[in-house]
Amino acid sequence: MKILVCISCVPDTTSKIVIDPSTSQISSQGLTFIVGPYDDYALSRAIELKESNGAEVIVLHVGGSESEALIRKCLALGADSAVRVDGNPTSSSQIATAIISYVKQNPVDLILMGKESIDYNSGIVHGLVAGALGYTHFNPVMHLDIEGDRLKLEVEMDGGKMEVSCSLPAVLGCQEPIAEWKIPSMRGIMTARTKEIVVLPLESASQINIIKADIAETARKNKMIMAEDAEQLIDLLRTETNVL
């Protein structure tokens, strides 16, 4: 079985986001990048499946060469090979198109992604890929097992969960607790050095023009209430806000 894991490389969750005034875009200076946390869950599950059932795991990222260290980390965790589609995508459709064109030339059985990237928060790349390829799509998936030639999944729904069975090929958006995040072993790091990262050109164009980025400031009231007057909170919620 061939499993393709699509990863985003995103600023660390604790990053302070700032705008570069000369470009009006988000400045990447001083940011530490990580593999998207949900994508990390997807990759961890793919590696577990490789260990338990046998599978070939390929990691794919659409982005610039600065992401190679993170791609190497995925190889150190146990992915067999990696593909980087070189460019700076600016829309979900552009990323999806790059993934679709790779898969059309290099068929896979299962595509795992995170439920959403934590920078653009679109939550749609997996749906776009599944729709265009005609593959089965589930998102967000919390448990994934292989039973014969079918998948058994636990999927979150609005207001509940469901257990489903589906055939391959499929595209899944993953979230915890699908797997535990993993740390690369020393041996993993050594063997990753010789694994291949194929670089392909980004051919799809973006149809979206980004004008500028802004930082959202939510002004909070920051009013403190003494513990002995805690009940006042209820009065304030009733009078100063109309939430109650």
């Binding site: 729709g131 265009a132 969960k161 403190m224 806000t241």
Partner: protein
Amino acid sequence: MEKVAIIAQTKEGQLSDASNQLISFLSTFSPKRILLLAIGEVKFSSLPSSLPVEVIQVSDGLWADSATIQPLMKLVDGFTVFGIKSIQVDNLLSLLAASSSQEMISGIQHITFSNGKFTITKSIFSGKASLALTTETASYFSLNRNFDFSNNEELKNQPIVPTSTTGPSTGSNATIISLKPITGAIPLPDAALVVGAGRGLKDPGNWAIVEDLAKALGAATACSKPVSDLNWRPHHEHVGQTGVKISPNLYIACGISGAIQHLAGVNGSRIVVVINNDPEAPFFKHADYGIVGDVNEILPRLTKKLQTH
């Protein structure tokens, strides 16, 4: 934009307030046709709109691949399609968009249309920042739950035009083994009021004080990630970067430190109350109202006040 469509789930036969507002909002684009694909039962007979809304009742089911969504694709062909963010709506919109080779934009906070061009503000980095962008090609749009409809004009309710009903076409590769709806509790993503609790509660046995307060308010309950990791609370209650993102009118955080990954899930709340016994807890900087105190003492007092006054 002559033809606009909305995809929305119904609950007990009714549309959510946000979906109703979206229908009124779309009237500002002066469309000639408005089509509603209502997933679930339809028990309403009129909608606030500039022209009668054509309603297609769509049965709930597994809309999980491009084969099963064929009937829907035919219905929305040529329409510009909108929805309010939910798991099912975003999954369906993205499948439909890609199956018909259209572009989609999600996470929308603001949208206008003129001279064939959409100007959009999209929320990014879990609400910490936003992107202003334009597109002439996208025709699938998912609006955030806290989209601001306050400038909507008051529109008269118009009788709906029920047209047809449809369901997923057969031949799906997927089957449902079991459904586990969350019963009894208010679903977290929809809740207008939420009480969240963290590791400061110390023990899963202490959750009664959180549940009592939530009950007195009519609120849903939420928790921090370590609490669900420890199995003190079910996973679907965990809010934050890696959990559910909520945007209620009121969020009361009890015994939660306010880590940036937790804030990422609750930034969209209108009013935030923080109760923590550590005056230095980072969450206080992001609070509208803060109480420095012990949850075991404060929460029952708030519950009592709500029950008696």
